[in-house]
Amino acid sequence: MSEQTIEEKNNKVKGFLNKQVFRTLMPLFGLVTIIVIFALLTDMRIVQGNSISLILSQVYVLVIACTGVFMVMTVGGLDLSQGSILGITSIVISALSFYSILLAVIAGIVSGACIGAINGVFHVRFKIPSFIVTICTMYLFRGLCAYITTNSPVAAVTSITSLNDTWFKVLLTLAVLVVVALLFRFTKLGISLRAIGAGETAARFSGIRTDRTKFLVFIAAGALTGFAAFLNVIKVGSITATAGNQLEIQILIALVLGGLPISGGSKVRFSNIIIGTLIFCVLNNGLVMLGLDSAVQQLVKGLIFVIVVTLTIDRKSGQVIK
């Protein structure tokens, strides 16, 4: 009897391990698949140099903003306000760029952090679910952004676009990614965030200051987007009312495509951010390259999104899905 149990146990373990590995490799597999598909469909145009740099140019802002939201989602929250934060912080950076670029960047980060703090306060102190709080702030700051740009777009100092150099942007982006990845992997940040996402009460009883951590996470998300705004400004040069529109949904789709479990917790991986953003941008550009109508592009994106989520979602038996 015990031998049989041990063998069955071994199989169970193998099954489990496979699943874990499956979860990590699946998004990577998805990325490769999508590159291959589009390479074939576009006669390899998509893997040409200028196509790649076009794709990359869209990656920077998205991936940095995703890093912040990744942390929010790891603790089980949702942040739908990032688009509006990008808009406001881009305006701040543009406006202050006339004095000093460095000052502008710092101001952008700080203003993003402030909005993040508002999110944090209403969520942590007033105990409102994060998705409601961030929908409200999204709306609020979207309106503010529109108001500020009512008469004319906010232009940054013209010299700022000289910074729009690929290597510069790559460097900045990598710097952010590396720093956050290291923090997540090699400090108690990772284990704490995952514990809060997996079991907040128990995390609190283990000595993690859950309220403070959640508050800081929202601030971090805002600050990171504030930094991403800098990369946005050097690309576009001036900010209109629609700056950052729909960024939050793009972030959500990118992270989901990257395999991030919607409820966060211990199964999140930092690679979700990078792979997800790449899949999203390749998909976006691939569809444009195929010369498809924008409505058709959207249809394809919607379908792929639903399919990918169906395949990758972490379903535990008996779990209630809302």
């Binding site: 992997r185 090699f186 400090t187 514990a195 997996a198 009883f205 000595g207 211990s266």
Partner: protein, 498 residues
Amino acid sequence: MGETVLYAENINKSFGITRAVKNVSLSFEKGEIRGLIGENGSGKSTFVSMLCGILPIDAGRFVLDQEELKIRNQVEANRRGVSIIVQEIGTLSGLTVAENIFLGNESRFVKFGIKNTTAMNREASKLLKKYGFNHINASTMIDHYNFEDRKLIEIVKATYFDPKIVVIDETTTALSQFGREELYKHIKRIKEEGNTVIFISHDLSEVIEYTDTISVLRDGDFIDTVKSSEVNEDDLKRLMVGRELGSHYYRTDYGQPMSDEVVLSVENVSVPDELDDISFELHKGEILGFGGLSECGMHELGKAIFAASYDRSGKVSLADGTEIKSIKNAIRHNIAYASKDRDNESLVCNDTIRDNICLPSVDDLAERKILLARKMNKFAKKYADKISVKMTGIDQYVSDLSGGNKQKVVLARWLGKDSDIIVLDSPTRGIDVKVKADIYALMSDLKSRGKSIIMISEEIQELLGMSDRIIIMKNGKISGELMRDPKLCEEDLIAKMV
């Protein structure tokens, strides 16, 4: 009596590789009150869950009144005359009392799709009066009633249609004396009406007193059915465990002098509605037991010491005067806490064993803020092995472990932190006998190493067996203090509890 109303034929149920119920065959007679007991993991909850439609049967069948019981959920079970009063909350917030009572059975009040609320409320009121629960109003939202009243409403919900079989699953532990009396009254009534009660409880004296016969399950197997009037608690324990339980289970030393050194001092601690001006001192190397009825406040006291209570007033301080005001501080000053609510408070179930063992110690494990995976792995493995956690590896998710092993993980994390003051709340609740013995041995070992333990427990034998000193609580206050003595017995403790 004498006529069989229900029999179970070769019932089987497995969860993955675990065989929870193995070929259990039982029969029940009309008008019988049958106790069903067994250690955790014995299969009794799984067995009744299948009877009541909560879980599907893998193999075997139930036959009720000569007709096979083929049901898919509780409501179908109710229609065949089988119902259950569950251990946790069985009523739904956001609905009225009447809606809760008739949930799933509204059809008789529905005509052309329209629900006749007035008629439903009237029926519910009639029932509540019949049961003598005059303080409960049928049309009020159930949220306005406390846990006990909601349980009373559940009694109405489970028995108003004169079911042939009523299962009462560990309901009494959460009720006050008044609630229990009400329950016993209804159990008697059901018997008098010729119907059958299956009564599950861990309280062996209660089972012996209120049942006609008792069936014992162990490890998924059916052991025996005995007459309640012919057995005592030790007999039952022997059947449940399968071996003689010697007193070497607990500590065997008496008369050891207690150190004078105070390690923790609790002064005038109060929590609104739970604790009222509690003061005591904990000595080095002492095992201080806390006992009392369920709602006496001792569980809340454990949380208060760990600074996990909301609105706590008063002072909890260490020997050197440091006040403990937050959980993080408590942990940093080497206080540990193992909650009664293991799955929600002591363990992050959806996380690995490694993460759980390392969490309280992350600050210590980090060298200049850097936390290396290798270090964490070594740490977790060391303490998991020290306490013999049965696992497939430290990467295994805690949710896959059995109750006993979960508790071992909880203890492993505090061993790893090398805490000096350990607050254990119901440390052996829901744990099988073998692991229980391991835990008691661990407690003795910690004591001998100079650690101090506060043990909060509802098991009187455990308190008597393990504590150097026992403080009894009643209604949020301390009502008595007793010293370790071989002549100390249950009655002495109970006298102070009620």
